[in-house]
């Protein structure tokens, strides 16, 4: 059966570079590493382009590979929470770019201190607006585990935010 959709690599980069970069940045907390991961992810996409069947497939594929590559990079580098704090606070190389709001930046730095599975679930839930079912499918994890990571992560992040960012958070 012939495919109607033909992947255009350059357009896929244009459309999804921000998503891939943001996932990698929030997972690793390191701009340089996030940029390397994003490059690797797109180069891998180029090698697998013939197997991509639709825009939705491309989006899901990119999300999954970006998350896997970020987790691999974290395991290799064993980046510590304090390092992530420093990276995000200093915002290396981000001078010319749009900076996140003060609260956004602080929440990101608090996020970096969460355990990796909770961080991954929260990023996919709130950055990508995925449902727990979609997250479970993307991470190849049981739904109950994902829900538990989301609840615990949210509770932990809220507790940290309450003690660190009380003045910013509404309703705290």
């Amino acid at each position: 059966m012939a495919r109607d959709w033909q992947p255009d690599f350059e357009k896929l980069v244009d459309d999804h570079q921000s998503m891939v970069f943001s996932l990698a940045l929030r997972m690793t907390g390191d701009r340089g590493l996030a940029e390397e991961i994003a490059q690797d992810v797109f180069l891998e996409l180029d090698r697998h382009l013939a197997r991509i069947e639709s825009p939705a497939h491309a989006l899901n594929w990119l999300r999954r590979v970006a998350m896997n590559r970020s987790a691999d990079a974290l395991r290799r580098r064993k980046v510590r929470c304090m390092d992530l704090w420093v990276e995000i606070e200093e915002g290396h190389g981000a001078q010319a770019e749009q900076k996140p709001s003060a609260i956004g930046s602080r929440i990101e730095s608090l996020l970096a201190s969460l355990p990796e599975p909770q961080r991954a679930a929260l990023i996919l839930r709130y950055q990508e607006d995925l449902t727990p079912e979609e997250i479970a499918e993307l991470l190849s994890a049981p739904l109950a585990t994902v829900k538990s990571h989301l609840q615990r992560g949210l509770r932990l992040l809220r507790a940290k935010a309450t003690s660190h960012l009380g003045e910013y958070i509404r309703g705290v």
């Binding site: 570079q17 010319a96 609260i103 956004g104 929440i107 929260l122 949210l154 809220r158 509404r170 309703g171």
Partner: protein, 116 residues
């Protein structure tokens, strides 16, 4: 119950804050350029590797063809030499047979002379 409701509200507020704080960050402006450059470099390398593989394959094929040709030539040569040797032996046998026939005729003539 009221506390739970309040807690739920503040959690919803917090989730709202999170969704706002977790907006996608723009990728560095150089990212796309780097990806496209690396892609082009990889494609060039891939083509170069493919060409090298094809060249090696062609060299192997030529070598195999030369070896096969050599073996075939050697077999033919051995066959030719064998045939030549066979012909020589046959000729020798024919000459010997002819000589024996002559001796036999002479002996028969000699026997006849003695009987007479």
């Amino acid at each position: 119950m009221e506390f739970d409701h309040e807690g739920q509200n503040s959690m919803n507020d917090f989730e709202q804050e999170l969704a706002e704080a977790f907006a996608r960050r723009p990728a560095p402006p150089s990212l796309k350029r780097k990806i496209m450059a690396l892609r082009s470099q990889q494609n060039t390398e891939r083509i170069r590797n493919r060409t090298a593989i094809l060249q090696r394959l062609a060299a192997c094929l030529i070598l195999c063809a030369a070896l096969a040709g050599g073996v075939a030539w050697r077999n033919r040569e051995e066959q030719r030499k064998g045939e030549e040797a066979r012909q020589k032996v046959l000729t020798a046998l024919r000459v010997t047979s002819h000589a024996l026939d002559q001796v036999k005729t002479q002996l028969a003539a000699h026997d006849r002379d003695r009987q007479q």
